[in-house]
C-alpha cells in the first residue's frame, strides 16, 4: 500500500462555535467535496485528490492529479486512465487519515474492486456507497454493511417493480436459451456492459455448452479480471479463430454498441439477447428489439436498496442518481431524514428524475459511458495482442 499522498498531518482541532457544522460532503461544481479531508469522492471535474468508489467511467474520470482506489480496481483503472495516472491503493478495511478525517474502503459488491467509502470525522460517520448490489457475484467481494450516521445511496432501480429473481433462475434461463440455440445451430449473442456485467455472466454460465467468444472491449476487461485472480472460463476473440469457424454453438458476449455493427455479421444466423435490470419491464424489453431480455443487474433492486439503507443504521440518507424523488419520499414516510444529493453520475441530469425518463435513454447513456471507456481499453488490448 502506498497512500502517502493522502497522509497529512492532523490539523489542530480549532475550537468551534458553530452550532451546526457544515456537512462532511458537499456538492460542488467539481464533485462531492470533503472539506475536512480536502478530497473529492468520484469527482466529475479535474481535482487534486480523487477517492474512487469504482472504475466505471462515470465514477472514475480522467484528469485528476491523484487517485485512491482499492487494489482490485487498480488493473482496470490503469488500463482506463493510462500508465501515467497516479493511483494509490488502500485495501478493504484499512484506514488512511486525510486532514481531519479517517477514510476506509468496504466492499460494495458492484464490480471488481468496487467500494463504499467510509469517512469519519470526530465521531461522525458518513458512507458513500457508490454503486452497489447485495446479490452474490463470483467476480467481486460481497457487499458489506457499514454502520454510519449518514448514508449516501444510489437509486438506479429505486421502484418496487424492480425485484431481482435468484441467480440460479436467471442463469438457468440463459443456459437454456444458449443450449436451445446451440441445438438449432445458431449463435447466441448476448449484449452486456463490457465491464462487470460481462464477467459476472462469464463466471456464472455453464461454459460446457459451447465456445465463448468475446468482443475486444469485453476481452480486455476479462484480462484485467484474470490478472486480479478472478477465475473465468476460456474465451476467445473472433479474430483469433480460423476463418471457417462454426459459430453455431457459440455464446458471443458483446457491448450493446456492437449491435448492428459489421462485427456481428461474421456469426451468421444468430439469436440475440440483452442483459440488464431494465429488462424487467416488458415495454422496455420490446423496445430494445432483441429476442430475449435477461433481468440481470449489478445494481441493487428495491428490496436491496431498502435492506442496505436499514443495515447502515443511518438516520440520514442522501439519495443520488436514479429514482431520487421516489426514494426520498419513501424514506421520509418511513421516518428517516432523507434528501436528494445532486451528482453527475449516469442517470442524473434528466430533470424530472429517472421515473420520468424513458428507460431506454438512461440505458443508452450508461452504455455510452461504458463504451467510451471500453474503447480506450480495446486499443490497449489490440496493442497487447499484437505484441503476443
Amino acid at each position: 500500500m502506498s497512500a502517502k499522498l493522502f497522509v497529512m498531518p492532523i490539523a489542530p482541532i480549532s475550537p468551534t462555535f458553530r452550532t451546526s457544522p457544515p456537512p462532511l460532503l458537499q456538492h460542488t461544481p467539481h464533485g462531492l467535496h470533503c472539506a475536512a479531508g480536502d478530497f473529492y469522492v468520484d469527482p466529475w471535474r479535474p481535482v487534486d485528490r480523487a477517492v474512487i468508489t469504482h472504475a466505471h467511467s462515470d465514477h472514475a474520470r480522467p484528469g485528476h492529479a491523484a487517485y485512491l482506489a482499492t487494489p482490485d480496481a487498480l488493473g482496470v483503472l490503469k488500463a482506463r486512465l493510462g500508465a501515467k495516472a497516479t493511483i494509490d491503493t488502500l485495501a478493504y478495511g484499512e484506514t488512511v487519515t486525510m486532514g481531519e478525517v479517517t477514510v476506509s474502503f468496504h466492499p460494495a459488491g458492484h464490480v471488481l474492486g468496487s467500494a463504499q467509502v467510509r469517512i469519519e470525522h470526530r465521531g461522525e460517520v458518513w458512507v458513500v456507497s457508490g454503486d452497489y448490489k447485495l446479490d452474490p457475484d463470483p467476480t467481486c467481494a460481497a457487499f458489506a454493511p457499514v454502520r454510519c450516521h449518514t448514508f449516501v445511496t444510489e437509486s438506479t432501480f429505486g421502484l418496487p417493480i424492480y425485484r431481482w429473481r435468484t441467480l440460479e433462475l436467471m442463469f438457468g434461463e440463459i443456459n437454456r436459451w444458449w443450449a436451445e440455440n446451440a441445438a438449432a445451430g445458431r449463435a447466441s449473442v448476448l449484449y452486456a456492459y463490457a465491464f462487470g456485467k460481462a464477467q459476472r455472466i462469464l463466471a456464472s454460465i455453464d461454459a460446457a455448452i459451447g465456445p465463448v467468444i468475446c468482443h475486444g472491449a469485453v476481452e480486455a476487461l476479462n484480462r484485467a479480471y484474470r490478472q486480479a485472480g478472478v477465475p473465468l472460463p476460456a474465451t476467445s476473440l473472433a479474430t483469433d479463430l480460423p476463418q471457417n469457424f462454426d459459430f453455431g454453438r457459440a455464446l458471443v458476449i458483446a457491448p450493446p454498441s456492437a449491435a448492428g455493427s459489421p462485427w456481428m455479421k461474421r456469426f451468421g444466423e444468430q439469436a440475440d439477447a440483452f442483459a440488464s435490470g431494465w429488462m424487467a419491464v416488458r415495454g422496455v424489453r420490446k423496445q430494445r428489439g432483441v429476442d430475449r431480455g435477461f433481468v440481470i443487474s449489478d445494481h441493487a433492486d428495491w428490496p436491496g436498496l431498502l435492506t442496505a439503507i436499514a443495515e447502515s443504521g443511518a438516520s440520514r440518507v442522501l439519495v443520488t442518481h436514479g429514482s431520487v424523488p421516489v426514494m426520498v419520499r419513501h424514506l421520509r414516510d418511513a421516518g428517516l431524514e432523507a434528501d436528494a444529493l445532486e451528482t453527475e453520475f449516469a442517470g442524473e441530469g434528466e430533470g424530472e428524475g429517472r421515473a420520468e425518463a424513458p428507460p431506454d435513454a438512461a440505458l443508452d447513456a450508461t452504455s455510452a459511458a461504458e463504451i467510451e471507456s471500453a474503447a480506450a481499453i480495446e486499443s490497449a488490448a489490440a496493442i497487447e495482442s499484437a505484441a503476443s
Binding site: P160, Y162, R282, H330, A355, P358
Partner: protein, 552 residues
C-alpha cells in the same frame, strides 16, 4: 397455466412467424383438450369480460404489496400497464399450483365476477400467491379483459392444422361462428374432416397491387377494365347445393352478420362470386365505421338492418354450376356475371341487395383519370384496373404479362392537413412507456362566437380534430416523447395535455361530420406523414379548410 404462460412468452418474444407456429404446435401437442380449447379461444382474440374493476384491482394489489397509493402510481407510470405493474410489485408466491388453464378460467376467473368485494379480495390474494412471473401477468390480463398476444388467428389455425393434419380451411370454417371453448369442441375442431366442408370452401382471393406510377405504363386503355374501388369488406359469396356461405378476406365466415345478402343470394344460381360488402343507404355509400358495427353483430335485428343496409357489389365470378371459371379471361367471366345478376328476378318490394360492379368506361387514360377524381363523391377510394384477358389469380401474385400484375388499385391521393399536437397518451405493448397516441387540433376562429361579434384573428383557438398513432419512425417517436415530457401542462390519468408547439402533417382518406371531436369532423385512416419542424403552430390549418375539403 404454466404451459399457457410459457406459450405466451414464446409468442411474445418472437417476431418470426415460423417460431410462433412452432411454439403453438408444441403447446397444442401436449395440452389437455380442455386447456387447449381455452387457449384457442383467447389466442383468436376472444376475451372474457373484466372480472374485477381496475380501481379495485389496483387497490387490492397495492395493499398486498404494502405500497401507498402514490408509490403504486409511480410504478404504474414507469411500467405503463396495470396488469404488469401488479405482477411486478406483488411479493413472490409462497405456493405453486400446477392447475391447468381450463380450471383457472372455469373455476377461478369466471366465478370471480359474481363475488362481492370482500370475496374477490380473498380470492385474488390466494390466486396471486400461486402464480409467478408471466403466469401472474397473463392472469391479470385475463382479469382486466385486456389479454392480447402477437399472434393472428391465421397462425393459430395453421398450427392446429399442422398438429392435427386437418386442412386449415376446415379448421377455420369450424372455428367460425360462436365457437365455445370446451374440450369436446376442441376435439371436434381438430378431428376427422366432415363432408359438410367441401361445399363451403372459398377460393383464395386474388389481390391487387397499388399502381406505382401513372397508368400509361399499362399500355392501351382498352385492354383494361376499370371499376370503382369500394371501401368495404371484400367477400366471397358461395351458393352450392342450395347452401350459402359468405366469407370475408380474412377467411372468416360472416354469413350470420349479413343475413340480407344470404337471403338475396337465394335468387342466384349455384356459383361462387367475388365482390365487396358495402353499406349503402338511399344510393349513397355510408362510412366504413357503419359497416364495422355490422361486422361485430351476428344475426342483426330489423332495425340494424334498416339503419345500416348492406349490398354485395359483385365484380367477379369464379365458379358456375360446379365449374371452376378462374382460368377463363376476365371479359368472359364478366359477361357471365352480368347475365347472372341481370337475370335475377326480384319481388316488387325487394331491394337490389346483390348489385353488379359498374364498369367505368373512358376512351383514354386522361379521361379515366378525370373520372377517378369523382371517387370521393362516390364514396370510393379510387379505381381498380383489371386486365381484360387476365385469369383470376391467387393472392398478390405478379402473374401478369412481363412480370407485372393483372390487378392494380389506383387510389386517389389522400387529403393532408397540418395540425397541432394537443394531447398525448402512452402506447401499448412495445410502446407502453412512450407517448405514442396523439390527439391533434386545428384552428377554429371565434368570429361566429356567442355574441355575433367579429373577434380578432388572434382569438381563434385549437380544437381537437383527429387521433393518430402511426407513421413515425422510432427515432421520431423518441423526439416527440421527449417534447411531450418537457411540455406537459396537465395530467388526467394516462392522458397529458401538451403545450401547443409541434406541428404534424396528417394524411387521411374520408371526412364526415361527427361529434366525437370538438372540430365537428372525423376522418378515416388518419396517419402522421411527417413532423413539420418548419412550421409554427400559427401555420396549422383550420376548421374552415376541412369543411371546404369535405365539400369537394
Amino acid at each position: 397455466m404454466k404451459e399457457f404462460a410459457a406459450l405466451f412468452d414464446a409468442l411474445d418474444q418472437s417476431t418470426a412467424t415460423s417460431d410462433k407456429v412452432a411454439a403453438l404446435m408444441a403447446y397444442f401437442r401436449q395440452a389437455d383438450p380442455a386447456d387447449a380449447a381455452w387457449a384457442v379461444y383467447f389466442l383468436t382474440g376472444n376475451r372474457p369480460k373484466q372480472a374485477v374493476p381496475s380501481k379495485r384491482l389496483h387497490q387490492i394489489a397495492a395493499e398486498v404489496a404494502g405500497l401507498p397509493d402514490w408509490l403504486f402510481a409511480e410504478c404504474y407510470d414507469q411500467v405503463g400497464d396495470l396488469a404488469e405493474t401488479i405482477a411486478l410489485i406483488l411479493p413472490p408466491p409462497t405456493s405453486r399450483a400446477s392447475i391447468g388453464l381450463s380450471v383457472w378460467v372455469n373455476e377461478r376467473l369466471l366465478p370471480l365476477r359474481q363475488l362481492d368485494e370482500a370475496a374477490q379480495r380473498a380470492a385474488l390474494i390466494g390466486y396471486w400467491n400461486e402464480l409467478a412471473g408471466t403466469e401472474r401477468f397473463v392472469f391479470n390480463k385475463l382479469i382486466t379483459g385486456g389479454f392480447r398476444v402477437g399472434v393472428s388467428t391465421l397462425l393459430v389455425v395453421r398450427a392446429l392444422a399442422n398438429v392435427s393434419g386437418v386442412d386449415a380451411k376446415v379448421i377455420s370454417h369450424r372455428l367460425a361462428g360462436d365457437w365455445q371453448p370446451t374440450a369436446q369442441n376442441f376435439s371436434a375442431l381438430v378431428g376427422e374432416a366432415s363432408s359438410a366442408f367441401d361445399i363451403s370452401q372459398p377460393y383464395p382471393f386474388f389481390l391487387a397491387h397499388p399502381l406505382p406510377g401513372s397508368p400509361e405504363s399499362l399500355g392501351v386503355v382498352d385492354h383494361w377494365q376499370a371499376e370503382w374501388k369500394w371501401d368495404g369488406i371484400r367477400g366471397q359469396l358461395i351458393k352450392r347445393q342450395g347452401q350459402f356461405f359468405l366469407w370475408s378476406r380474412g377467411e372468416e365466415l360472416v354469413s350470420a352478420q349479413f343475413p340480407e345478402i344470404i337471403a338475396a343470394a337465394a335468387r342466384l344460381p349455384n356459383g361462387v362470386f367475388d365482390g365487396e360488402i358495402v353499406s349503402k343507404r338511399d344510393g349513397r355509400v355510408m362510412p366504413f365505421t357503419a359497416l364495422q358495427k355490422r361486422l361485430g353483430r351476428r344475426n342483426p335485428g330489423k332495425k340494424i338492418q334498416a339503419d345500416t343496409p348492406v349490398v354485395f357489389v359483385a365484380y367477379d365470378l369464379l365458379e358456375v354450376g360446379g365449374d371452376d371459371w378462374r382460368q377463363r379471361p376476365l371479359h368472359e367471366r364478366r359477361a357471365k356475371l352480368h347475365e347472372v345478376v341481370y337475370s335475377m328476378v326480384l319481388g316488387p318490394d325487394e331491394r337490389h341487395v346483390i348489385q353488379l360492379s359498374e364498369i367505368v368506361r373512358a376512351p383514354s387514360w386522361p379521361t379515366l383519370a378525370m373520372a377517378r377524381q369523382q371517387s370521393r363523391q362516390n364514396g370510393t377510394e379510387g379505381l381498380m384496373l383489371k386486365r381484360r384477358d387476365s385469369a383470376y389469380g391467387v393472392g398478390r401474385t405478379a402473374s401478369g404479362k412481363g412480370g407485372g400484375s393483372d390487378w392494380w388499385k389506383w387510389k386517389v391521393d389522400p387529403f393532408t392537413i397540418d395540425c397541432v399536437l394537443m394531447y398525448a397518451q402512452r402506447g401499448h405493448g412495445k410502446r407502453a412507456n412512450l407517448y405514442t397516441d396523439y390527439t391533434f387540433g386545428i384552428w377554429k376562429s371565434n368570429k361566429d362566437g356567442h355574441f355575433g361579434v367579429e373577434m380578432p384573428e388572434n382569438a381563434r383557438q385549437l380544437v381537437t380534430f383527429a387521433k393518430a398513432y402511426s407513421g413515425l419512425t422510432d427515432e421520431e417517436i423518441r423526439q416527440v416523447d421527449a417534447f411531450i415530457r418537457k411540455n406537459t401542462l396537465e395530467k388526467f390519468g394516462p392522458v397529458r395535455t401538451v403545450k401547443a408547439g409541434m406541428v404534424f402533417e396528417l394524411a387521411f382518406e374520408g371526412i364526415q361530420r361527427s361529434s366525437r371531436h370538438k372540430s365537428g369532423f372525423a376522418v378515416r385512416f388518419p396517419r402522421i406523414t411527417r413532423i413539420r419542424y418548419d412550421k409554427k403552430i400559427e401555420d396549422a390549418d383550420t376548421v374552415e379548410l376541412i369543411a371546404a375539403m369535405m365539400a369537394q
